[in-house]
Amino acid sequence: MIPPQFEYFRPASLPEALALLSTYADDAKVLAGGQSLISLLKLRLANPKYLIDLGGIGGLNYIRKETDGQAERIAMGAMTTYAEIKGSSLLQSRCPLLPQTASVVGDVQVRNLGTLGGSLAHADPAGDMPAAILALGAELKAVGPKGERWIKAEDFFLGFYATALSPHEILTEIRVPLSAKRKSAYIKAARRPSDFALVGIAVCLEAGQGGTCERIAVGVTGVTDKPYRAKSLEAKLKGKKLDRETIEAAAPAVTEGVDVIGNIHASADFRSHLARVYLYRTIQAASQS
């Protein structure tokens, strides 16, 4: 690795990290596992003057169940690795979409080092975890000099590597509501198993009376400049019986209003096609989960 020169900090506490960030905000990058940022540094595509490594901060690495009145939820520290999510028995039993998604991120090395918070804050438009987070209706906790705030997943991703976090904020926790009725699946199309998604679809649904779909949330990644919730599609499927005909009729809405990207791995047309095919397959998989 031959990056341009930068100054490296490894703060021991969150306040210390926030102080560094407020000093260097515009010239700083936060390192949270490094599985994306280090590649950019290597190629000199990122040129931060200061690197603030969150790896030395304790207490940002946890997966736990919380209760808020009647409701149950999962809270995960931002520095929780993909491997920890994949291996969590709590998640496997109560929120299997997260381990299922984490298990197809990159390869073993990436999963051992890369973190959930890192993935979300980096906001790669083809990242896997954002699709799951969107479909689960997660909330993300941003901590800054003025305190903390919660951002809904669907408001978090703004564009290419751009999020609702301000340059002075650090993502510290991801909170996911639990539901006993929820069925889910994540499937991605990728040229190789370890690749970013050409198209990735995460589906959460709850069945209602008579085999209809009472609630459905669809997170989509790889298709445009940011991961997104396919809301118009969801509206078309909600309350319906999810048979092949219904899904295929609604499927074009999965990319409705979206500027689909084309590159050497898949043209915009082919991506749209894959999104429709994988939408059906993912709903099928979720229904049978």
């Binding site: 190629l43 040229r191 198993p193 370890s194 898949a266 082919f270």
Partner: protein
């Protein structure tokens, strides 16, 4: 082939799957690669062209040169002023190119300046301070662009972008057409891909002021030729250049082209009076670390209705990019496999080397032969379909038969041995071919698309280097040979130095097996120095690791040198034991008399006589126990357009593949992969298996994933492993291997090439399987790679991939 009873005194090691003794060292990080060498070096970074085609109007290095930590800067014009242009090997048109671009850049990534600094970070920073004024020219990217009458010229002096256009006819091709019932015609396109070894190019250069001479450490694959190239280009006598090749982390051919960078490093080393090091980055490697050319091949097979092929006519356009040194060879080398495994009596081949603004091309695993077998084996399937024959049947009808061996092809290539029909029969049996066909029919009823593909290919080895020059007259190099030194040390252990280099093939293990059985000692007592030193090692212009020559001439040289040392030890032993040499035997590090077991002398005692007690040696015998030998393949013909052999051993294999295609997503999944391989006798079957599988995986990468993609301006879009996609273990098939053993009569051990066969046979096998899977949709496969998008588009719209 030698009589093994004469050659070997034991049969404990040759032919056994001996574990590679190199591996522990490599996997523990104890390799000795260029970057591991403990030397205080200044570091080099190279400024590369950002344009595919442009005039360089001005290069201003003043800001970079003034930067703190920068020791020297060199530019293209300065290099051109001090060196001779790169010497072409195969092209016939004049085309002047220097190791660094001077007036004009011809590909994105071409070196135009280099910086030496105290460390690599500073050197890279300094590149940003070099100002280059480019005058962009229109880029020539595709073959058809290069051939247009008004195409911009890569080399004005050539007056054309076609740098070689040669047509060779052998046999009566006109008659083949006259007698044909039909002619299969197809135009194929194979994309640009390459090998990407774990270790990129790496080198250190040191200049010795007192003697004005250079030492270079580099992971070079063909040191014999590189020494000549570097000295010629620098215009220095050979005694002022020494090349040392330590461990090398993979080559596959593309490290044959690293010598131009040695020239640059020598000039820099001289400037700074300190060793200078350049370790190529992966991005640099993908940009300019040499590719296999993309090509377009128009193939015609005049045939009889019964499937008999009467002739083969080919027009081969190779997009050789912009490296004049090796441009043109991809066409010429196809003669090694021009007729594949078949009795084709007449051929016509037109070979065109096209210069474009794509990156440099050089020999890569199989060099044109993967393409040749791809187009031929695709055409066989197309013919079978047209004639209503099973793909296996049309091959059976055309195979060269075992009783025809050794078989000479129309152009003069000699296939030494092999049983091609039996090889296919074995592969069909191993793959349960008939069962697969039944399964295919069953699955189709369920809307699932299984396809079965067969490919039969020749895997040539040991280049007769004269072949390049069939187009240029008398060549500089002809034939093929290698050198070896075998010594016995004070302790009676053997040590071996060879002129070739190892790029991961396990040469040390294999050599130790052969020497052990020749001397009657265990392999632990044979050490093989993998390092080549041009001052010490026994090397020739042919020396290096390429064209699968190891099993032939490298081992040949080792055997000849070992015979010499054995004879000398026997002579000493006979004298010491007062015996006849004819009565002596070797066993377990001793020489004893077969007539009287008590009369014996150990290797150690023989070494003591040879090295120390030299007055007790037989009268007239030289002291010392070190012997050098060179071994030349006996079959190489002189360069002659009418009758020539391109390569000197010919292994063969059959691949039978079953794939399932997801017709909605275009994804291709392997269901079966059978390879039956015949490389004659095997010294180490485990290594042969590993090479067969590794090589096949490379081919699969080429068929499905790997591609250097250029845009219309000649910008390479695949400069990382995210975009240039190597196959990964997940998604690959479980390979089932079968072997045949048809000894080669013309190599000492009956061995033939191993290592490229998988990369050669796999392209057509997978493509044939995919086309078969998609036959209900009427899809024809004429190009690679088979990306999911192309598959889906062909099913839905175009019907052609």
């Amino acid at each position: 082939m030698m009589d093994f009873d004469q050659l070997f005194v034991t049969r404990n090691w040759v032919g056994k799957p001996v574990r590679r003794n190199e591996d522990v060292r490599f996997v523990k990080g104890e390799g000795r690669y260029v970057d591991d060498l403990a030397m205080d070096c200044a570091q080099v970074a190279i400024l590369r062209s950002i344009f595919a085609h442009a005039r360089v109007k001005r290069i201003d290095v003043s800001r970079a040169a003034a930067m703190k930590g920068v020791l020297a800067v060199v530019t293209g014009p300065e290099v051109a002023g001090q060196t001779k242009p790169i010497a072409p090997r195969a092209i016939t048109k004049p085309a002047t190119q220097f190791v660094m671009a001077s007036e004009k850049v011809r590909y994105v990534g071409e070196p135009i300046a280099a910086v030496v600094a105290e460390d690599r970070y500073l050197a890279e920073d300094a590149l940003d301070l070099i100002d280059v004024d480019y005058e962009p020219l229109p880029a020539v990217v595709r073959i058809e662009d290069a051939l247009r009458a008004d195409a911009p010229l890569l080399f004005d002096e050539a007056a054309s972008n076609v740098l070689l256009d040669d047509t060779l006819e052998h046999g009566d091709i006109k008659r083949a057409y006259q007698e044909a019932d039909l002619v299969i015609k197809e135009k194929f396109h194979v994309h640009r891909y390459s090998s990407t070894p774990l270790e990129n190019w790496a080198m250190i250069a040191r200049h010795d002021k007192a003697s004005d001479s250079f030492v270079v450490w580099a992971n070079d694959q063909q040191p014999g030729r590189s020494v000549v190239n570097v000295c010629n280009t620098l215009q220095i006598p050979t005694n002022r250049f020494r090349l040392i090749v330590p461990d090398s982390g993979g080559g596959f051919g593309i490290k044959l082209a690293i010598w131009p960078y040695m020239v640059i490093l020598c000039l820099l080393a001289k400037k700074v009076n300190k060793p200078v090091k350049w370790i190529q980055t992966r991005r640099e490697h993908l940009l300019g670390g040499t590719h296999a050319p993309d090509c377009q091949v128009e193939l015609e097979l005049p045939m009889k209705k019964d499937g008999t092929i009467l002739g083969l006519s080919m027009k081969d356009y190779e997009n050789d990019g912009s490296f004049v040194h090796t441009a043109g060879i991809y066409g010429l080398i196809k003669f090694a496999t021009l007729v594949g495994c078949y009795n084709i009596k007449a051929t016509r081949a037109q070979m065109l080397s096209i210069a474009t603004n794509k990156g440099p091309t050089v020999q890569n695993r199989g060099v044109g032969k993967p393409t040749m077998i791809f187009v031929l084996e695709r055409a066989m399937d197309i013919a079978a379909k047209q004639l209503g024959l099973d793909p296996a049947e049309i091959r059976f009808r055309n195979f060269v038969q075992p009783e025809q061996m050794p078989y000479t092809t129309p152009s003069g290539e000699i296939y030494e041995s092999g049983n091609y029909p039996e090889c296919l029969r074995k592969a069909l049996a191993l793959s349960h071919y008939e069962e697969l066909k039944k399964q295919q029919a069953e699955m189709r009823k369920q809307g699932r698309y299984l396809g079965i593909g067969i490919s039969a290919g020749i895997e040539p080895g040991t280049s007769n280097l004269g072949y390049y020059y069939t187009s240029r007259g008398i060549p500089e190099y002809t034939g093929n040979a290698e050198g070896a030194i075998v010594g016995i040390d004070y302790d009676g252990n053997a040590n071996v130095i060879v002129g070739s280099v190892d790029t991961g093939q396990g040469h040390a293990t294999t050599i130790a097996q052969v020497v052990s059985d020749m001397l009657g000692i265990s392999p632990e007592r044979v050490s093989v120095d993998n390092q080549l030193d041009s001052l010490i090692s026994p090397f020739l212009g042919h020396s290096g690791a390429y064209s699968n020559k190891f099993n032939d001439v490298d081992l040949g040289a080792v055997i000849r040198a070992t015979e010499k040392i054995r004879n000398k030890m026997l002579t000493i032993a006979a004298h010491a034991l007062q015996s006849d040499v004819a009565d002596l035997k070797l066993n377990n590090g001793t020489i004893y008399s077969a007539k009287d077991n008590s009369k014996k002398v150990s290797f150690r005692e023989i070494a003591a006589l040879a090295y120390k007690k030299i007055l007790y040696l037989p009268e007239g015998l030289e002291p010392g126990l070190k012997e050098i030998a060179y071994y030349k393949n006996p079959m190489a013909k002189l360069p002659n357009k009418e009758n020539f052999n391109v390569q000197l051993t010919h292994s063969n294999s059959v691949h039978v593949v079953a794939v399932e295609v997801d017709v909605e997503t275009g994804e291709i999944a392997f269901r079966k992969y059978v390879i039956v391989h015949d490389c004659g006798n095997q010294v180490n079957p485990a290594i042969v298996d590993g090479m067969t599988i590794g090589s096949t995986v490379h081919g699969i990468g080429g068929v499905l994933l790997e591609e250097f993609v250029y845009d219309e301006d000649g910008q390479l879009l695949t400069t990382t492993f995210m975009d240039y996609m190597k196959p990964v273990a997940a998604g690959l098939p479980q390979f089932e291997l079968g072997h045949m053993y048809s000894p080669c009569p013309y190599t000492l051990l009956g061995t033939k090439s191993a290592g490229e066969g998988g990369a050669i046979g796999s392209l057509a096998a997978v493509a044939n399987a995919v086309e078969d899977a998609l036959s209900p949709f009427g899809v024809k496969v004429t190009s690679l790679p088979l990306s999911p998008e192309k598959v889906v588009r062909a099913i839905r719209e175009t019907k052609v991939i």
